[in-house]
Symmetry: D2
């Protein structure tokens, strides 16, 4: 492999010839051969694209950076934003906990490509763009990586997770309306209980996801706050006055997101409470989705030896050995996603608690887990909606059969003949494998007409 | 032990003579000898006191329950609310997952004491108060236990946790102001970094706890919603129309809490997303507090071989073997509390995800963990504030010594002589065990005056 | 309240007259009003009883402590071991992370009671037993509390958890044998699958718990190792040579447990990997038990709208509103216990990872969670065995009905007519609501005799 | 994109022309667009390569499969094993919970490539290899995926994780020996304590990792057990007698791993307790490593305002803004890995607990998290050893300075003048900013010679 030599403040180092990163990136690549190469989420790189461009603009506006430099840096940043340079970022999550290596990776790629452009196009040998002094001007890894975390997380929620969840809610609400007249047996403790409509069950599901959706929305404001301008420890050393405002205004315009500057840059660099907070809302939805998915696969279980009150779409053959088997695979998939998110929440909580002094050094870990959760939740909510919920149909036959033979319809008699006589009827029917009506009459508690008038599932929901 | 005989719908059973519970309580007591007796949180019992009273009132208002019965039930409920009957509730958390046994425990105690009162005072042999038909009228365990969960959780947060956290924030803000002029070395990656003020550090702590405080407040609205009136599965079978509104109005008046009826009783009985949500906010604060407490014990470490930039109060002798030792015990205590809360959050998430069909059957587990977290957080924030934060004093000597010999003051030179020359100075000073100034002059990058003008910690914060 | 004055190395303090603890205990009591008073597990106190007695003996044997002192200390220790002084230990888990306050609580109670005995009985004013110099002689909190943790944990496993689990295994194996000829439908993905015997299902349960049981046993050796003699940091400063061996020999004799000295006292004081390890084994069993309990409540669900293949004992009335309802309460209870244990495992992992330098300061938290898990697991396994597993009976009717109408019996035809034709038969039977046999003949794949010969559930298990 | 048509038992479907998978794979690819494509670990695919080859061999040996078919299948399997077909497996973790889609992906790729080979080379139009009837002969996804899980997990531990950990232990032990004479101050509660040697500290680290290493080894036996031959539910339906033994013998020979058949295939398909067990051991090591890494970064903190008792290698420039900064990046990286593993353990525990009846349907989730943890732990232990531990050097200067001015050397006086006088000396020295010796003499407790004789750090370790 061809290579070129680059040096940093410690030593010189070889780099593949077709790669534009520099010595610090290369060192990180060699020193952190941990897990899959390039595992640092690409969303972070793209956010850095926006951020370095905004920084160049702000430094230019404040008279710190020449127009030429600003323009070239912006040009390279656009390529990063548009995903044209994705193969220039080989670093892993498991690097320094401040994400400095990735910040330097971005600085180096921008600087090196800029300098190639200068040589080729401008033939201007004087102009040189330095990774630290120019691209990283007025910045530290500590404020930029933290800012890129917030930017990536916010964008992911707004552009992916929230729309998917919204659509799922619509789908659940539709089903709730559609099923509003289907009376079925309710079940508590997995045991037969009093009637409910299928629509009511789905209204509960819709309500849960809407609850979680509001939880996510509650967290967006804190997530939209950025510590840019705080530089190394939050004090803003080496960042000129006004720098942060111009950066954030620029980012707002380019990303169309309602970003703002945090009121306390110290807290936002030393900790990531907003990441912890927003992820807890993702976890909240995961918790709800496990409940709902479990219900759906229980309700659709069978076809002949299960509950079978609903049909779910037959998306794929279910078994390599059992012909004709169809399984609730969308439910299983989303449940696995949700369990991943619940585990990720523990990782994020530990990571969030582990800052020291002026810096949290689990930044890459936190955003890696956050983005994984947000992406998986988004994708699986979409899949779950289109390939499961939307296709649910009631099995009227089973629903009616279960409803009519239920012993718990006796509950309605409590208010007429009391709990103990009602229990007597239910137990007798159970023991004699008979109906409630037969027993109510046999025991002399009610006559046939009274029974029919009182025990009517339609009046119970 | 003397005993009396009680029977239920299954069989007869003996009960200690001085206890007012009935057969269902006694059965639960015998069938669930798991862990410490009486572990069901007493807050749940007291909430049931309010709820059974409110129910009797509502049933009376709707013409379902006589004034006499309502009055006697209310009289016994008052005793429960005031903690006079705490020894009548021997059941454990690890019972049925709906909390039915505790609901029946309350029903039985109210019924049995009521009937004794009737016999003694009223000499009215006709009047009989039935645990199910009267005390539990219009209710199920499923809606009442869920309602008692919300009531207990909400009260605990409002009356304990939130005030403690508020006071902690005030204390942290006070320190932040008080320490606003103390310039010290900042640390990132645990390593020396650029200066910051001690006040800025504490402003970060205050900001974090305020962030968490707002997270808790965000969750209160959902927590204030009650599923009472939903009875067994959320449909409200056997509860008369209007029952729920009267109950909630009564509860609002008696508890002075802004309670309301949930819009979806199905979701609130089959799941406990509000409990999951509010606990995540407690966990959020736990995450922040671990960071802060760790900082404080690191900053106060020493006295001679640690950081020692601050003094914390000497509350107790620290060691049984090392005389004169004083330890950061309040920090250690609150860190343990926070780790408990992070573990409890996992339990609550699993429990919250495990409902089936119309009922979550991990109710006792969820509220047990919730109340433990809320109480421990409340108590330890109070303790941490009064016995640690309030007493923190700076060690001016150490702060100044560390600040002056720091090599990272060099950072400010980046913008004057560039990153690489600045690095050269810092590395030389480190290698030669000299000062930045000596090296800056020796290397010919700056003269003495320039150095003094540029490298001034006061201008760096 | 009457009180007396005690002083320590910091100040003087008042103590209730009927309590024998001293100033350090009282200070901890006042400084850590966190959660329920006295929450430090009593098992730790009892272990300290053994340990202080063993220490006095060892110090006596090594000529450091007089026979009189040793005898009096032993006398008081016996009272502690026998639970006669349980009300003298008011401290909480949420104290200093080394457990020093509890060590001093023990030292003070032994010293104060000893000195009262000396005054009363011996009339010997000369003799004085000092909490640090005598009771704590050759010890530190750091090695004694760690030792008490191991002793308590080991004892709890041996005396409670392991026997309960063993009995549960026996019960599951019995059921497996008893049910070995009951052929039923198997279910995968909650959907109908190929046949299995009920005995085979229970053999899987037994195998799982046996697996977990072996996991616990694997951890006992490490748990039996004690760091006593390491004193403050593991070096054994102030402990005479040979002290540790005599202590451990004494403990072995008195507790009849195969205790030993750890080979690395540094690791055993600075960390608690054995606690982490053994708790992970408890968690392992919790994981298995959730699976098994869920199966049992699904299999017993109904009575008329569920699976209902087995009966579980009717232990209590299940509902306050639905008469005649019986619920799988033992399953629910043990599932809650298991979820608590999974959460506790996170707490223990975090706590275990948080030691610094020579000391882990989450000791009380770790042992509190460990003992809770071990006790709850023990109690609930016992309850689950006697009140659920032992009483399980098959519902032959349902089992046969489900088996005979299953479409997945078609699987056996794969090897005769191939997967695709088999799938064709199954799908046709499903679509036409007919039997496999009808379709096999109609589609011309098999004749009646062939079908009967090949499709025989008895040959499939 | 060119495509061809394939059909399954449900419908026909288009597939890219250069891909050899079939309709079931393609359907899964379309129905589960969740997260990164191809996220199913490649280790699982390679394990399937071994397994399908072993199956073909076993079926051949038992007279079920012709030699021709066996040979062609084996030929394609070799390509899979050698990684030549890695781009033919596009499916994700978040598919059906049994991993059926991946099993079918393997079946289809083998079948399609086999049939192409047949057409091209053999010109034998008669011979046709069916994905289900031939490649999947005698198998189900349920036993094969479970077997592939064990095979992958076992191989990963043996080939990667265990060797890395072993090397780390050697490195820590080396340092322990090397540093055995370096006496330094010990620290408990982060506060100055009694002396210890640097070698003793490292012996504790070595002991911890060795402890964890033994924990992993303890789990290998269960992990080596395979449920192959159990087919769909563990009964082995459609697998000929003896099939499992031949498969496992073949696997043993080819992989050189001591594999065996599990005694209970029901448990090994319906649950994954061995995965839970082995991962808990990985978590155990993660817990230990966090402690150790934190120590190392605390001990190396500085260079001028930290502890600085050791030097760690300067691997990269530490900061994009602070010139000359060097950070403990290997520590940070491995700590992030360990927190990921602790979170993964929660995911695996939940997943492990969620089986129902005859099948756990979180199989892909479990093995995905397991392999991630095992790989990250392996890689980061290697990195940590070579780039951190191996390069640690003591800073003699700082070590001596801290040791000599410590007040806790006073501890050794307890046994001579008692705890209270010793405390008096320490407190006076602290208050007067003097030395212990000065105060001991001033207070008249000891003379100069006595002090020097008694207070000698060398005698304290």
């Amino acid at each position: 492999m061809n290579s070129r030599i680059q040096k940093d403040t410690i030593e010189s180092i070889k780099i593949p010839i077709n790669k534009y990163w520099g010595s610090q990136t290369e060192k990180s690549r060699k020193n952190f051969k941990i897990g899959v190469p390039g595992s640092m989420p690409i969303e972070i790189i793209h956010s850095f694209g926006y951020l370095k461009k905004a920084s160049a603009y702000s430094n230019f506006r404040l008279g710190k950076l020449s127009k030429e430099k600003k323009d070239i840096i912006s040009y390279v940043c656009n390529k990063i934003i548009n995903g044209k340079l994705d193969d220039q970022f080989p670093l892993v999550v498991w690097q320094t906990g401040s994400g400095t290596h990735t910040n330097m990776n971005v600085n180096e790629v921008i600087s090196n490509i800029s300098n190639i452009i200068i040589k080729k196009k401008f033939k201007n040998k004087q102009l040189f763009i330095h990774p630290n002094d120019d691209v990283n001007m007025s910045q530290s890894s500590n404020d930029t990586f933290s800012t890129a975390m917030h930017l990536s997380a916010y964008k992911k929620l707004i552009e992916n997770t929230i729309p998917s969840i919204k659509n799922l809610i619509i789908s659940l609400k539709n089903k709730s309306k559609l099923f509003s007249n289907i009376i079925k047996i309710g079940r508590t403790h997995l045991m037969d209980a009093v009637p409910i409509t299928l629509g009511q069950e789905f209204s509960g599901y819709a309500h849960q996801i809407e609850h979680g959706f509001n939880c996510i929305k509650n967290t967006l404001n804190n997530l939209s706050k950025l510590p840019i301008g705080g530089t190394a420890v939050g004090t803003g050393i080496n960042a000129p006055c006004g720098y942060d405002k111009i950066v954030v205004e620029f980012l707002k315009k380019k990303t169309k997101l309602p970003l703002k500057i945090t009121k306390n840059k110290f807290a936002y660099i030393a900790s990531h409470d907003s990441i912890v907070e927003s992820h807890a809302a993702l976890k909240q939805i995961a918790v709800s989705l496990i409940k709902i998915s479990n219900d759906i696969r229980l309700l659709s279980s069978g076809p002949r030896a299960g509950i079978g009150e609903i049909y779910i779409p037959e998306n794929e053959p279910g078994s390599s050995i059992m012909p004709g088997k169809v399984n609730p695979t969308q439910c299983e998939s989303i449940i696995m996603v949700c369990m991943q998110i619940i585990g990720n929440d523990v990782t994020i909580s530990m990571a969030g608690s582990s800052g020291n002094y002026e810096l949290n050094v689990c930044k890459p870990l936190m955003i890696y887990n956050f983005l994984q959760s947000a992406q998986l939740l988004s994708d699986s909510c979409k899949s779950f909606k289109y390939l499961c919920i939307d296709g649910i149909r009631p099995n009227y036959n089973r629903i009616e059969k279960f409803l009519n033979r239920s012993l718990m319809l006796v509950t309605v008699l409590n208010v007429h003949i009391g709990y103990e006589k009602s229990a007597h009827i239910a137990k007798s029917a159970y023991d004699n494998n008979s109906t409630l009506k037969e027993e109510a009459i046999r025991l002399g508690y009610l006559n046939s007409d009274e029974f029919d008038r009182l025990v009517d599932p339609k009046k119970m929901v």
